[in-house]
Point group: C2
Chain length 339, copies 2
């Protein structure tokens, strides 16, 4: 009663109780107003809203979560935030969560399962409502099982942890490889090499599998598969070995654009003409691909879309934890440029 707006100097943050006092209603009523309940009379609602503004009240979602069990937060764990692909992905997630009024914890596992485990635990401690996880190389299925016993909804993206099923969103790498091989064959290539990442992920394995069956499908001899570290020197060396071998390949399907760019560089350095003598295609269609000379052909994988889909799926799953798992494969698109 006595307390008025002039108590601004007060060090303490305004709470529901302060608003209630200011508006001469009960705390319960203020709570109803905050949650847009249709129960409160319009006149009271207005009075309460004025009071909220007057005392400078800010909702304390942490306190609410204690009661409701819902925090309005999501954990996002990626293995390599500095990779432009993940940055795009993150932007897509961020956008969707923003629209849903939620906030994301972002953590960079840096491909370390230990660090990843630490993050998962912290995210759980903070009471996040769910997790979007791109599992680090070497992730144990036990981690996913852990999330399950915690009843913490989880959507895996890009890489599926072996031995742990669940919701999943990622590019259809198999379809992508199939398209690339079809393209190469149409152009007359018969000696084709695949350079998958040497990281042991489902994303790499998918490429290898699809490559093998595609080659068979087109009646070609099994192509050359050379798992390759992402370092520029490693790629140059591998490309060199292939080109110096007997019956060298004339087309290279690379794990991603960064690797493809380095491969292209080495091929050019050796005096071969890209686009005519030799073809190179990467994955992801990063901005650099179209800027390079010659402009790199690439399989676009739409990270932003994947991020949005994953976030939407997670939100749905949080709403209905019991329904059966979903699996979204985003159709990639071959962008033919000069290589």
């Amino acid at each position: 009663m006595r307390s008025t707006v002039t108590d601004v100097g007060a060090r303490r943050q305004a709470t529901l109780g302060d608003v209630a006092a200011q508006a001469s209603v009960s705390r319960a009523t203020v709570s109803l107003v905050l949650r847009q309940s249709p129960l409160v009379a319009v006149s009271t609602r207005e009075r309460v809203e004025e009071a909220i503004a007057a005392v400078g009240y800010v909702y304390n979602r942490g306190a609410a979560r204690l009661r409701t069990g819902l925090s309005g937060t999501i954990g996002v764990i990626v293995p390599e935030i500095t990779n432009p692909f993940y940055a795009d992905l993150t932007a897509g997630i961020d956008e969707t969560l923003d629209a849903a009024g939620r906030l994301a914890f972002l953590a960079n596992s840096n491909e370390s399962p230990q660090r990843q485990e630490r993050f998962v635990r912290r995210v759980k401690e903070q009471g996040a409502d769910g997790v979007i996880l791109c599992a680090a190389v070497g992730t144990s299925p036990a981690l996913i099982a852990q999330l399950r016993t915690w009843r913490l909804p989880c959507v895996q993206i890009l890489r599926a942890v072996k031995g742990a099923e669940g919701d999943f969103v990622g590019p259809d790498f198999r379809a992508g490889i199939a398209t690339v091989i079809r393209h190469f064959v149409a152009r007359g290539h018969t000696r084709i090499a695949l350079l998958p990442s040497s990281k042991q992920t489902s994303a790499a394995q998918d490429r290898v599998d699809a490559f093998a069956s595609s080659m068979v499908e087109h009646g070609l001899a099994p192509g050359l598969v050379r798992a390759c570290d992402a370092a520029p020197e490693a790629i140059a060396a591998e490309v060199g070995r292939l080109l110096e071998g007997s019956d060298p390949p004339t087309a290279f399907a690379c794990h991603n654009d960064l690797m493809a760019l380095d491969a292209a560089k080495e091929i050019t350095r050796r005096g071969l003409k890209l686009g005519s003598a030799v073809s190179v295609i990467g994955f992801d269609d990063i901005p650099e691909a179209s800027r390079a000379v010659p402009r790199l052909s690439s399989v676009a994988t739409f990270p932003n879309t994947i991020g949005r889909r994953a976030a939407n799926l997670l939100l749905r799953r949080i709403g209905s934890p019991s329904s059966t798992y979903e699996r979204f494969l985003i159709e990639p698109q071959l962008i033919v440029r000069q290589t």
Copy 2:
């Protein structure tokens, strides 16, 4: 007493109380153990730790925060997460916070002050202990003032909001420009152009100011300053206009590497030889700079370091909110390559 470890099927998450019951001690004691208090006897501590493992207890930081007022979280708001510079920065922040046992909310304002404001409010609602903010273009000083009245510590990075002082960490753009001009002059250039971003930020203004005083310092006529949108076409057009003008510049200092790469492309397209006839230098030293042909000279600005410094400063500020503001300018480094 009756309840044993076998209640695993229970839907409810284990709480402090469950651990206490399991270990036959009080909740207060368990709490002390969790916080590594030296008060508890070693034998009890061990008993409690066993109980924690037995019931599968996970700390509820949200509940703790209600009492302590500390959440162990930090808000990070950047204007453009897909820019590799910010990705690196984020990685630096993430690393530092990880070491400090904290978790970051990451939000992408996308240069929208409205969105940024929404995020700031959400971060506050979630009870974050502090904020690292790279202010969107057009941010009002009122936002910083708001944070201040909320007593939410804030470290600004890269761009300082005009009219709002506070803690700051960013590259020393002035020093960077000075180095570039010195380098150009040493190479014999006298007609120099500056292409700052057309975004109205302190980061752009710093470059403009430093450019002007550098030119004077070397006894040169004021150079050409052309604020420029980041779109490749806009840059090509601007570079074209400059080159076709009377007495065209022979050296270009660009706002960042992405712009510099596009400028370089246009210069090459016009048949001018980069590195001899014309020089181009960008900022940030993104990976693409060293991969481009010709290899782009650039001013490295060390985003990862900036991220770490900012995070460390924020952690210190959370520890002692009242001490005076600090301002860290990270010395950039000119990397001379082929342009």
